[in-house]
Symmetry: C2
Subunit: 189 residues, 2 copies
DNA sequence: GATCGCATGTAAGTGGTTACATGATTTA
DNA sequence: TAAATCATGTAACCACTTACATGCGATC
């Protein structure tokens, strides 16, 4: 049981920050919470329809004169209540699935070089993500430091930074360990 | 595209460590790699059937005399090849979904106390997981330090420990931040 | 005139969980 | 004798991704 549509609450949550279209919501998620949460169009649009039918959001056909499309949604009072109810409930513990670790666990089945490559790839990806997050952090401090949400935004960003840094450190450590596994192959030239 | 049945490879990988029944595989996963990977019966049994039909594993009806059930599977040579091929492919980047951070991102919608409770709960869970992992690490060092897989097992364990520790530190930091948000409510008694 | 960004949506497929059904054997 | 553990399996359901279809307007 449990775990009912977290997309619902993502959408409601984003709409507390202001009215937005489905497209806008997608973009917002991508640009601000991408490092710990994702949503696809295939989830967002049906969710918006559903929420509208329940009166938790209200959609308005926008676009000055010409546009037939583009519906801008706003959260309603009952939408806010629904969101708050969910926010008060304890969070589900994560179900981890880390493919890299699975491959490394079976690492002895292939050559050390293969595993070293995996770790190097991981390191690059993590370093890139970390850099992106640090840019977000800087932007937040410069542009959003006086908004009520600021301390909470920084909280989530810091979590991301800390876990990226931990992963980075682990990569170096892991690479060293594997390199020591092959004490002499072409060493000493 | 991509991401074809990782259960397949989990099963094949576990079977490189010795012949096992579906039930055994489930238990092994639970007891050794639970902190970064999980599998359910609903995945394992169909996967075993499929793998057997492809000749990547071979099943033998076991159970000294009485048992009608209990099928013990062994990995075949082509199974090993298939596994190795997969192990050489680069791993898929994780798609993160951290419900706790989602709730905290929308934290201003509820009282600080609610958010503090979430963090406290998280802290407890992480501390528990960390303790369990450290027991596994100790057990590995005592009982498995001479197996060929040992360095790789320790690698994955260390990753778990490092990220748990990072999360723990973050919890304390985050709780402090939120507490500072309410500078005086009942302070000074 | 082609491609890119904006914009909404649907359909198919998949990976995975949960609940259920069944039954033997062991332990309390 | 009741419960827990061993053991296999299926069916239903769910969340989510991907690909596709459509079309407008701006830019190259």
């Amino acid at each position: 049981m449990a775990r009912g549509g977290r997309t619902r609450y993502t959408v409601l949550g984003v709409l507390t920050l202001g009215p937005r279209s489905g497209y806008d919501i997608k973009k917002f998620v991508e640009e601000s919470i991408n490092y710990f949460w994702r949503e696809s169009f295939g989830q967002i649009y049906p969710a918006l329809k559903q929420l509208a039918s329940e009166g938790l959001v209200s959609g308005e056909e926008a676009g000055s004169t010409e546009g037939p499309n583009r519906v801008v949604y706003s959260i309603t009072e009952s939408g806010r209540r629904e969101l708050r109810t969910w926010l008060r409930e304890p969070h589900e513990p994560e179900v981890p699935r880390v493919e890299l670790l699975l491959k490394l666990f079976f690492g002895p089945q292939v050559s050390p070089d293969v595993n070293l490559e995996h770790i190097a790839r991981e390191r690059d990806q993590v370093a890139e993500s970390l850099a992106a997050l640090e840019e977000i952090a800087a932007w937040l401090r410069e542009e959003r430091s006086s908004t009520p949400g600021f301390p909470y935004y920084m909280l989530t960003v810091r979590q991301g930074i800390l876990s990226y840094e931990a992963r980075l450190a682990w990569c170096d450590d892991a690479a060293r360990t594997i390199r020591n596994l092959v004490p002499a192959k072409e060493s000493g030239l």
